[in-house]
C-alpha cells in the first residue's frame, strides 16, 4: 500500500470527497454524515429514491450552496471557489436554455461566460452530430436536440467533472440511447468525471462504472460497479429444515424474501458461498443489487476501498475486508 506517502486527493485524482457531510434544510436533514470518495475519471451513477439527497449533493458539489456540517471537496478544493466553478459543469434536470437565443448564440453565451477555457470546436461538433441548424431558436428544438445542445454547452466548458441531474429522464428510448452514446464518447475522449443522478435503474447498466447510492440522506453503497456486484450473491432456493445449516449463515443478509419455503436473498459474502443441494448462487445484476439496498434501509452501508475517504469515518471498509 502506498497510501501512506501518496494522497490521491491532493494530486487531483479524487473528483469528490465528502467527510461528515451534512446539509440541513428547514424540514430537516437532507444529507447526514455522508462520507465517500469518487476517484477522477469515472462515470458515476448517483442513485436513490426521490428525496434521498441526490439534488442536495449536486447543489453542494456545484458550490451553489454550502454544507451545514462536514466538508465536500472537489478536486481537493472548496466547490464554492473560483477554480472549482471553472472545473465543474452542471446540467439541471429541466435542461434550461434561453428559448429565444439561437443555437449559435447559445454556444456564444458559453464562450462569453467561460472565457479561455471554452472549447468552441468541441461544442460545435456535438451540435453538428445531431444535425441541429445553428440558426434555429433553442426554444424550437426537440427534447433530444435540447439535450444535445445542453450537453454541448457542458462539454464546451471543458469541465473536469460534469454533474448531470436526471439527464435522460424525459427522453424516449431511442434518443436516450443516442444521448448516452454522446455522453460516453465525450467523457471518454476528455477524461471528464461524470456524475449522473437517476432513479431509473436500467439507465445505469453499461453506462456507469461507479456507483453512489443514497437513501434517507445517507450513503448506502459506493464504489466500482463491478466490485460492488461481485461482493454480493443472490441466493435462491428452498429453505433448509429448522436447525439444519443455512446457506446464509456467516454472511450478511441485505434482503431476503420468502414465500412458503422458497426464498430469495441478497447477501454480502464473507468467505465463500457455494451452491447447495436446495439452493443456487448467482451474481446479482446491478439493478437487483440496487433494489435490494434501496428496499432495506437497515442494511449496513458498503464502500469499496477506492470510495472510502481517509479516517475518521470508514467503518464500512472493515466490513468489506472479506
Amino acid at each position: 500500500m502506498y497510501t501512506e506517502q501518496f494522497d490521491p486527493a491532493a494530486a487531483g485524482l479524487v473528483a469528490l470527497e465528502a467527510t461528515g457531510l451534512g446539509k440541513r434544510y428547514r424540514r430537516g436533514w437532507a444529507l447526514e454524515e455522508c462520507a465517500f470518495r469518487l476517484p477522477a475519471g469515472r462515470i458515476c451513477g448517483l442513485v436513490g429514491p426521490n428525496g434521498a439527497g441526490k439534488s442536495t449533493l449536486m447543489s453542494l458539489a456545484t458550490g451553489v450552496s454550502g454544507p451545514s456540517a462536514g466538508t465536500l471537496r472537489v478536486f481537493g478544493g472548496d466547490p464554492r471557489g473560483g477554480r472549482a466553478r471553472r472545473q465543474v459543469g452542471y446540467l439541471a434536470q429541466s435542461k434550461p436554455l434561453y428559448p429565444r437565443l439561437s443555437v449559435a448564440d447559445t454556444l456564444r453565451m458559453g464562450r462569453e461566460l467561460n472565457g479561455d477555457s471554452w472549447d468552441q470546436g468541441r461544442a460545435e461538433a456535438i451540435v453538428r452530430g445531431g444535425d441541429i441548424p445553428f440558426h434555429a431558436r433553442a426554444g424550437s428544438l426537440s427534447g433530444g436536440q435540447r439535450t444535445r445542445l445542453a450537453l454541448a454547452l457542458c462539454f464546451g466548458k471543458r469541465p473536469r467533472m460534469l454533474l448531470l441531474d436526471e439527464p435522460m429522464a424525459d427522453l424516449d428510448p431511442l434518443v436516450r440511447h443516442e444521448m448516452t452514446g454522446v455522453l460516453m464518447a465525450e467523457a471518454a475522449e476528455s477524461g471528464t468525471t461524470v456524475v449522473m443522478s437517476t432513479h431509473t435503474l436500467p439507465e445505469l447498466e453499461g453506462v456507469c462504472d461507479y456507483l453512489l447510492v443514497l437513501a434517507g440522506g445517507r450513503v448506502r453503497l459506493a464504489g466500482e460497479a463491478d466490485e460492488l456486484a461481485w461482493a454480493h450473491s443472490l441466493v435462491t432456493g428452498v429453505l433448509p429444515a429448522p436447525g439444519a445449516a443455512s446457506p446464509l449463515d456467516g454472511h450478511t443478509v441485505v434482503e431476503s424474501t420468502t414465500s412458503g419455503r422458497q426464498f430469495t436473498a441478497m447477501v454480502r459474502r464473507r468467505g465463500s458461498l457455494a451452491p447447495g443441494p436446495t439452493w443456487t448462487v448467482a451474481e446479482p445484476s446491478m439493478e437487483q443489487l440496487l433494489l435490494a439496498y434501496l428496499r432495506s434501509p437497515e442494511a449496513s452501508p458498503l464502500l469499496t476501498p477506492s470510495a472510502t475517504p481517509p479516517a475518521p469515518t470508514h467503518l464500512a471498509a472493515k466490513d468489506h475486508a472479506a
Partner: protein
Amino acid sequence: MSTATLERESATDRDPGPRRLLHGMTWLVWRQHRGALWTGLALVAALVVTAVLLRNGAVAHQAAHGITGCPLMGGPERCSSSLEAIEEYRGLYSTPLRLLLAGILALPFLGGLFVGAPLIARELEADTHRLVWAQGITRERWLLHKLALPMGALMAGTGVAAWFGSWALEGAGQATIGLYWYSPTAFVSTGPAVLGYAALGVALGAMAGTLTRRTLPAMVLTLGAMGAVTALLTTIRSHVVSPVVSFGRSVPQLREEDWVLVQPQAARADRTIFDAGPCYPADDFDACLAEHGASWEYSEHHPIAHMRDLQLAEGAICLGLAALAVTFVWLWMRRRAF
C-alpha cells in the same frame, strides 16, 4: 481543405453584432434585452423630438403674440392687455406639454414593468438561472451586470428625456403656460428625481421577480409598488426640504413660480394662524385683526431656488429605496440554491 470544411468551422463566427465591443455578461444582457433597448431608444427619441418641436413652437408663438414671460394675471401692462392671447396659447400648448411630461414620467414605470420585472422572474420561470449559474462566471458578477446595465441604460434614457422636458417647459414659460415645476406632472419629469425613479423601477421589478417567480405577477407587483411610492413621495415632497417660513408685519414678496404651501394669512404673535372669518363683516378689517392680536402675516413657500434641492432630495430617497431593493435581491441570490 475544402471550402465546405472552412465554412463549417466558421459556423458561429459569421454571426453579426458588435463582438469586440460587447463580451461576457455585457453581451448576454445586451442579447437578452436588445428588443427592449431599441424600443426604449425609440421612445426617448420620440419624446426628445416632441420636446424640441413643442419648445420651438411655444417660443415662436409667444414671441409672435408678445406674451413672452407673461403670467395670466398680475403681469405688466403688455401682458394684461393680451389676456386672450395667453388663453389661446394655453389652449394650444398646455395639453401637449402635459402629455410630454407625463410620457417622460412614464419611462421609469415602463422600464420597471418591462425590463425590471422580467429580469429575475423570467429566469426563474424558465429555470435558466441554473443554466447561467453553471457557467464560469460568479453569481455576483451575473447579478451585477443584470441589474446595473439595464438600470444605467434606463437612467441615461430618462435623464436625457427629462433634460429636454425641462428645456421645453422653460421655453414654454411656467407662468405663461400655467404649468409649474411643482405640479405632480412636472416635478419628476423635468428634474434629476427622474433618475432615482428609473433606478427604483428596475430595482423594484427585480425584487418583485424574486418574490413572485413569475413574470406577469411580478409586473403587476412592480406597477403597484411604483404607484404606491410615487403617491407617497408626491404627498410628502413639499416637506423633504424645509420651506421658507415668512412671519412678519407685512405680506412677503412671492413670485409667480414660487410653490406656496401656506398662503399668506393673518396670524397671531405665536405664529398660529388666525381664522379671519369673524373679521370680514367688520368695517375696519385691520383693526379687527389687531383686536384679536392677529396683526401678523404668516406664509410658507418654496422659492424656485429650492426646486433642484427638492428634486435632488426626492431622487436620493428613490435611490435609497432602490439600494434596499437591490440588497434584498442580492441576499436572495446568496441564499438561493439551485
